[in-house]
Symmetry: C3
Subunit: 398 residues, 3 copies
């Protein structure tokens, strides 16, 4: 009645078995079919909820959240996703500065996981650390499960690391797919992932990296642009190049925002810190060189300041396809004259896209829920069919 069958049919045509029992750490570790399956299940879960049908598939179980950086929207997305499926969330507050060494991590991972089905981690502050931490923790609970310590193995979901931000970029992509009326309409479209000026420094690289690592899988022209010295992780650029070749799109780099915006169907202007500076910063923190950190921060701010012209203005938007590219941002944006004096985007541009931006963000809880769903259920089609068939209301009775 509400079309869950269509989603099930779509899943039947996909080979996504590799998601079952696995973590979700980097989008490029997943196959095209697996990525599609996540979008499909996210849509199906949303369809259920929008029709007031319960998607509660856990009668008990914990989702553990580990936020090694402040978070509001990701926290609520993770909580919302867990709650939708029936999991209660328990936060693990480790203290922000301490990066646990091997032994302690192994112990903590097991100690908190006796009743855990999923562990969502945000650890995006230090280059070379975040994703490594997730893998170390995952390894620990995998061993714990092998050794009979844990009767189940909690899956690890990357809620943002130093390399990728899969729940963000998958939500972004779901938004793009819906906006353009289907993944089949994306071939040949141009997306500009560009740096933008911000009065703050040290923003993570995970979004631009995640975007070029994911968006190159849909036959699109992915154009990365940033000022000189703002390069990102070269290994992820390699991923993007490989994807473009494999999936029939392109990946290009330039030092011009205008060039990237020209005739773009989608623009994603967003500030980030230079990769080299972030590496340096990680070392300085490692050595507790506070003086060095302060000096670096001043340099970074000065460096940013030289590129205030990297702003998403109305004039720039006019140069996009028919003057109406889809503007994306992971939020919160630095809005010129509103949240800061000079920032990433002109206020009128932001305001014009505000409603769409919030919709973009609205995909995240469903994407996270879908990742958990597919990580936990071998036969998700059956579960979806049962949920639709059972028809239990999420709220009240009809």
């Amino acid at each position: 009645m509400i079309g869950i069958d269509d989603f099930i049919k779509r899943l039947d045509g996909l080979d996504f078995g590799g998601l079952y029992g696995e973590d979700f750490l980097l989008t490029w570790e997943k196959s095209a079919d697996e990525i599609s399956a996540v979008f499909t299940v996210a849509d199906a879960l949303r369809r259920l909820r929008e029709n007031n049908l319960s998607a509660r598939v856990f009668q008990s179980g914990l989702g553990i959240s580990v936020f090694r950086d402040n978070s509001t929207r990701t926290r609520f997305s993770f909580t919302g996703a867990c709650n939708l499926l029936g999991l209660a969330v328990q936060d693990l507050d480790e203290g922000k500065s301490q990066i646990a060494h091997g032994e302690t991590l192994r112990e903590t991972a097991n100690m908190v996981s006796f009743m855990a089905d999923v562990i969502g981690i945000r650890d995006d502050m230090y280059i070379g650390k975040g994703n490594a931490y997730m893998r170390a923790l995952s390894q620990a609970v995998w061993e714990g499960n092998q050794e009979g310590i844990l009767e189940q193995r909690p899956m690890v979901v990357n809620l943002q690391c130093d390399i990728d931000h899969p729940t963000q970029t998958m939500a972004d992509m779901a938004h793009i797919i819906h906006h353009f009326g289907g993944v089949e309409n994306l071939k040949g479209r141009k997306i500009a992932m560009t740096w933008a000026y911000s009065p703050s420094y040290g923003k993570p690289l995970s979004v631009p990296q995640g975007v070029i690592g994911l968006m190159t899988r849909f036959g699109m022209e992915v154009a990365l642009a940033h000022p000189p010295g703002y390069g990102i992780m070269s290994s992820v650029e390699k991923v993007a190049e490989g994807n473009a070749a494999r999936y029939g799109g392109t990946f290009s780099k330039s030092l011009s925002m205008a060039e990237a915006f020209a005739d773009a169907d989608i623009v994603y202007p967003k500030s980030w810190a230079p990769y080299a500076a972030m590496e340096k910063r990680t070392d300085l923190y490692g050595n507790r060189d506070l003086e060095g950190i302060e000096k670096l921060e001043k340099e970074l701010l000065a460096q940013n300041g030289a590129h205030k012209d990297w702003e998403c203005t109305e004039d720039l938007m006019k140069t996009t396809r028919d003057g109406k590219a889809l503007y994306l941002h992971c939020l919160p944006a630095d809005i010129s004259g509103l949240s800061c004096k000079e920032g990433e985007v002109a206020a009128p541009v932001f305001e014009r896209y505000r409603s769409l931006l919030y919709k973009q963000a609205g995909y995240k809880p469903y994407i996270i829920a879908a990742m958990i769903f597919l990580g936990k259920f071998k036969h998700p089609q059956r579960i979806l069919a049962r949920l639709a068939e059972k028809g239990e209301c999420r709220l009240g009775w009809v």
Copy 2:
């Protein structure tokens, strides 16, 4: 069997459709029938729980709590109410000092609400801010829902603002109704809402304002008394006057605790800060005038100190109706010789009423749950009937 039918019948006789889909911000925005419906559903939910019947009406969903002031009892009441109905609570910790400007509030409101059914807010610190914040947030999620960002609109429940404290005063009123054996027995009874001395300053005005705004709707004689200079919001006094005229009671003001207590059936002696001083304080905080704040606080303490005779003593209690008025307090009270040297109430008076006071507080979780229930369900009678019929145990099986 357990009398849920009686509550349903009572609801059938009330016109409370205006509660559905709306926030609960001020009691005087609600009709008499709507207020009655909240009491009725609160009693019904309590009856279910006391008979070990589940009142779980949400299979998933979030209740968001925003406490911009410290809270233990309101936090537990909100959590208890949400939990009773099946909602999980996620706290939004904004930081206490920052009053979000328009744009950010709009964004935050939407970002946390994708899976939210209710948002409970306590923001009572600054005159002119708390209720305004709630309305701004409500407006933001209303727009979000209109624009298709939020598939549902979370209702906002006022857990205490600068103007009213509806969950407190409704709980107080439920206690009064039960104590006197029904709302029909309240006509002509006198309730004294009086200031009382406290060694601390700056207590919110929401309780006295909320009390005169609500209690004047039941045909009672509502007597407000405070020392000179301790006036409350005049707009709420106007509400009280209007209510008294409309519902056949009285609203009087005096500068004498003795006068208010004389022959009172109910007394509610409680400290608060002068409205004018609170306005001044809000401005000082707005200007970050720390010196001015310190000076004002000293003045307020000195001003309080001149009125130590405003204490609820045994002698004063003897002057009430038959010497046994019902003593109320929202807790915690400043108890002379117990929690402070000199305070709002003499220790023997407090001790004599302690058990009743705790019962008074016990209505709050059910009042909050009833507000949510009526805000979320168009046909609450049907839901209550189904809960009773289904007979699922809250705890175990019988």
Copy 3:
């Protein structure tokens, strides 16, 4: 099918009615049958979960956690236990230093308990305070229930106090029972509960006290050993002596780690603070004598330093029964050369037992859940039978 009947049959043979409606504060307040019932229900709940069957017996209800000392593993164990049974956890954050006086405690206890089914408390910092606090709180909610303030009475579960640590030692004991293939195989076995060196001071006494208070009930030879001056609570030693006499085991004390380890089947080397010093420390805190506290801490560190030879080494392990005693620790351990320079245990010993140690910890959530289960259900056999019969999956459908 999955053997729940066996557990039910075992329960049928036990007289554990005394657990119903009661707190769980000290193991030695419980009968042998009651202790057995906890182990049995813990195993049954685990069996259900390991077979993907839901053990959700609460449709709503709160578990309140009160941690007056930092905690990660106990927090997750309590949350996991509550969640397994269907309770949501709400933390009561009182502030660490303030020990509430009678009146306030009575009020707080009632205010947070309107919807609470269980209150888990960790309060192990001050001699003479922790267990007393639990009893005072329990008394408050008992009175609240008697007076009709609380419709139900939340049970209090001791998550560690100054006297006992029942959820830890019961988990330890469950591990021992399973390791040795049944409680019937424990008679005559020797367990060494010994002090061990740690570079930190002031570790609680609840584990050694809890261990000698519980392990003396199974016919084992319980050998307590510590350096001169590291005595524990004499009242608990009396309990151990009484148990040994009653249950046909022994309880011995010595000042030699080697003596305790000799031919031991089980060893539990762990640091703790001298009882006398902890008493003194409590007084110093009471008097806010910061200088005195600092001085005491220095003395304690120096005193510890004189006993660095109290380390669980491979050589010492070789002196145990067949050189392969079961090594226990409540975790985290001070591991020499790993988490500290010199500590409680040599790294190779710890590493060899790491997997077993984690399994030991894994019993705790089930032990806590069993305590709640037996405290809340008069006929736990019926509930277990219904859970098995109903066969609702914890996760998905099969």
